[in-house]
């Protein structure tokens, strides 16, 4: 039970990484260079829009690129 949960957590880790790290990294990088997010979005929304699908892609494909 516990082992299956941990395996599941690690299986989905790239998705969590996309939300937990890539999204805020994108948002804060935009702020660092004083760049606005496109389409009037907030920077963190833009970060999530990139980070979450990218992480999901990494889970499904097994590759980040």
């Amino acid at each position: 039970m516990g082992q299956a949960a941990v395996k599941g957590l690690f299986r989905w880790m790239p998705f969590l990484f996309g939300i937990g790290f890539i999204a805020p990294l994108i948002a804060q990088s935009l702020a660092w260079w004083d760049i606005s997010a496109p389409f009037g979005m907030s920077r963190i929304a833009f970060g999530l829009l990139i980070g979450a699908p990218w992480g999901l892609y990494a889970v499904l494909r097994g590759r980040w690129i």
Binding site: L16, F17, G20, F21, P24, Q28, W32, A58, R63
Partner: protein, 327 residues
């Protein structure tokens, strides 16, 4: 020592594995003396004795700098987090220092893997263990896993089925760098993913403990990154830990695994599984790996003494068929 049998009897048995044990039917000596390299048993024994006598001069020595480097380096690395978050140290400088510490940590850990800082049973054994424990935290590679997998690499060097580092093999340097990154992809059976699989197959209590420690360290790493990122320190987390870890892992994989062992296919013999090479970055920047063959022959010779040991051993190595032309 935990590096498998190294005694003379074991070595002679192994070196003579291909020699016929019985008198052949054709017109040849009743007692075959020559081994696969053309040397007879006596020459081999003499060469091995010479080799061992020279090697013994370079074993041990001053090891406290490894302890200072490991513990001081770890303390410095931890301090980079508050120092960058408070804006005391510029990010570019912290990034450079962290890359050096993440990469160099493997060297100090490596000495601890071979118990070169303090042997089992020594009163200073705890120092050896704590040097190992802290050295590879920046690359999120627990010491227990690093030691088990590295010793497997020594036992089965270049065996495609049993050497845990075999999947670092690549046809050239450019592809080797690429592979250091490719092997870390989530769905690829390389790097730490392969190590986890091998540890599961080993099924020993040590392997189980190592898997557990790996899980906790990886979860801690992710928790630290996510927490820093969502509290406004994503760039600090990226430049102090995440990116230096990736750069360090690639550098270590290239210089400690690919460069001294390429090409690997079919090269499993004592004098052929590791090559002498000339690094464009020099001896120190290549982490003393130009003379890594000395380490594989005698893991008790510390990393910083392999170069001197190599030059002392060179005439014997040449006779054993090692290509010594590069250095």
């Amino acid at each position: 020592m935990a590096d498998g049998p190294i005694g003379e009897a074991h070595v002679l048995d192994r070196d003579f594995a291909g020699v016929e044990a019985f008198a052949p039917a054709t017109d040849r000596p009743a007692i075959p003396l020559a081994g696969p390299d053309g040397f007879d048993r006596h020459v081999r024994r003499d060469l091995r004795k010479q080799e061992q006598a020279i090697a013994r001069q370079f074993m041990g020595g001053t090891m406290w700098p490894y302890v200072v480097a490991a513990w001081g380096g770890f303390a410095l690395w931890v301090s980079l987090f508050p120092l960058t978050m408070l804006g005391i140290v510029p990010l570019w400088l912290a990034f450079v220092v962290s890359c050096v510490l993440a990469t160099g940590g493997y060297v100090t850990s490596h000495e601890a893997m071979h118990s070169n800082i303090a042997r089992p049973g020594s009163r200073y054994r705890w120092i050896n263990e704590w040097v190992g424990q802290v050295s590879t935290i920046p690359i999120v590679f627990p010491f227990s896993m690093a030691r088990l997998m590295h010793l497997e690499h020594h036992y089965h060097c270049n065996d495609p089925q049993k050497d845990p580092d075999y999947n670092d093999e690549a046809p050239n340097a450019l592809m080797a760098w690429y592979k250091t990154w490719y092997n870390r992809q989530p769905g690829v059976d390389g790097s730490i993913h392969a190590y986890k699989r091998i540890l599961q197959q080993m099924g020993t209590p040590e392997a189980a403990r190592s898997l557990k420690e790996t899980m906790w360290l990886q979860l801690f790493f992710m928790a630290a990154l996510f927490t820093m990122a969502w509290t406004g320190y994503a760039i600090e987390a990226a430049l102090v830990w995440w990116l230096p870890r990736h750069i360090g892992l690639s550098y270590i994989r290239f210089y400690l695994s690919w460069a001294p062992h390429h090409p690997r296919a079919g090269k499993t013999g004592r004098y052929e599984n590791t090559y002498v090479f000339k690094s464009r970055l020099g001896h120190v920047m290549s982490m003393c790996m130009q003379t890594h063959i000395v380490h594989h022959l005698y893991p008790n010779i510390p990393n910083h003494r392999t170069r001197a040991a190599y030059f002392a051993l060179k005439p014997v190595l040449e006779q054993r068929g090692v290509d010594i032309t590069k250095l």
